[in-house]
């Protein structure tokens, strides 16, 4: 178990079947603190299934996900008790959904959204929660005036920022992102990617970023895994995989991107 004492996440043989349909098959990798892993592949290649299995949302059919917590102890994600897993998910981990409406409480104000994780772990001073929420709004470049506004009055880019702030407020060590810039226009995408890249560096966050957009992983990810039909067909450093793809499918993927 202490084979890789410093890895943050160790995944071995991760498999998820839906009846006869293969979601993902025999996926394994190590994720180190501060490292960003990109997972790319076409629609239906099992990226989101993999992410859900990694983040504790979907129990895999086979395989293990081991996480090294803040105290250095290795936790087998699907062997620990459910309360422990849910606690990890809302403190040590973050989850950024493609559609921010899945990750943001639409019926409470921006400030309450950001403060929720603090209150969930026992913060009971309104003034402190509010100050912390305000600080995070500034970090994700949101206007402080919008703190008491409802998320439904926000634009898509703002909602995504809110979702990011809401996740990062508990100072997680690992963030899962599912198409974090999906559905946003190009200029907003660029600003958001800038922001994500800065936050990841400043906070020393490790992240698993699932996307079909190769430009996103080029900017964010240190390493890359290419998925096809549930299997990882190629891994390596991002620039290496994108500039010198070895597997025929990766070559196809890279050459399908319009050159501008």
């Amino acid at each position: 178990m202490s084979e890789h004492p410093q890895t943050l996440l160790t995944v071995t043989g991760l498999t998820r079947h839906f009846g006869r349909v293969v979601g993902c098959e025999d996926v394994g990798f190590d994720l180190w603190p501060g490292e960003v892993l990109g997972v790319v592949g076409e629609s239906g290649s099992g990226k989101t299934t993999l992410l859900n299995c990694l983040s504790g949302i979907l129990e895999p059919t086979a395989g293990t996900v081991s996480y090294t917590d803040r105290t250095g102890q290795v936790q087998d994600l699907y062997a620990i008790s459910e309360p422990r897993r849910r606690f990890l998910m809302r403190t040590d981990w973050g989850m950024v959904h493609q559609n921010p409406r899945d990750g943001v409480r639409m019926r409470v104000s921006a400030g309450a959204n950001i403060g929720e994780r603090l209150m969930a772990v026992g913060a009971r001073r309104y003034g402190d929660i509010r100050a912390e929420a305000g600080a995070w709004m500034e970090r994700v470049e949101m206007d402080l005036d919008r703190m008491d506004d409802m998320p439904r009055t926000f634009s898509g880019g703002m909602l995504q920022r809110l979702q990011i702030a809401r996740n990062l407020v508990s100072k997680p060590r690992l963030v899962f992102m599912d198409e974090p810039t999906g559905g946003l226009d190009v200029s907003v995408q660029a600003r958001l990617l800038d922001l994500l890249r800065r936050l990841v560096t400043d906070l020393g966050l490790a992240a698993v970023v699932v996307t079909h957009d190769l430009a996103v992983v080029r900017l964010l990810a240190h390493r890359l895994a290419v998925m096809r039909r549930g299997r990882v067909v190629e891994t390596g450093l991002t620039d290496q995989v994108l500039d010198d793809p070895q597997h025929p499918y990766t070559q196809l993927l890279v050459s399908s991107v319009l050159q501008t």
Binding site: R107, R124, I129
Partner: protein, 292 residues
Amino acid sequence: MRGYNFAYLDEQTKRMIRRAILKAVAVPGYQVPFGSREMPLPFGWGTGGIQVTASIIGADDVLKVIDQGADDTTNAVSIRRFFALTTGVRTTEETAEASIIQTRHRIPEKPLTADQILVYQVPIPEPLRWLEARETETRKMHALAEYGVMHVKLYEDIATHGRIATSYNYPVLVNERHVMAPSPIPKFDNPKMDHMPALQLFGAGREKRIYAVPPYTDVKSLDFEDYPFEKQTWEHACALCGSRDSYLDEVVTDDRGGRMFVCSDTDYCAERRDAGHVGTGAPVTYGADAAE
């Protein structure tokens, strides 16, 4: 009454409900599902409370029924008559005399004793429902004591109104474990639930849940350290009995802004007046055209 069993429900149903009550008492604040029956009045009129009362009432009991603190409102009168008819027990309007008090919206002002039982009628038993629509998820949240969202609600109140504006059905933590909806009583009554000598039973007929607070159990209203729980206060004393420490109803007396503040607990007010306490008896007036 001929043709009906004692207290309307058949004995098997009463046993089923008593088992649910015992479980509820054993796990304070936990919502126990039960097989709620059709009653001869619509859901929302107190069917949960009536079924609880019917299961615990005996021939020697003395029953009091209150609605909004009053003994003489429609709901209170018809439920009291229902039990008088189906059990033949003695009914009363005096808090001290009753052994079972069924209530909607209030806890009597007079402190209850260890030989009394307070039965609440509950419309929505799930305090987490406002943020989580799925029953499977709310049950899990209770099981794992994941109650952070309750404070999100209070946070939202302060951010919007500058204070915790929730004034009824104010959520409580029971026995340092379960968050519980105290039914739509005003938060004025919340402190009375804490370490109450009487057994408190809650019945939700439509939602098919029973829960309980055993005698002398911790009941703490949720709050923030810098925005502590506060109960309502009034500028006025009761216009009839002069009480300054009971929950007051505002009664509009004319169409020129005149209104009276009177005790919502009719029995408490009447008892004080019998003891010689008097209020001003005069309506308070507000507004410009009330001046002349």
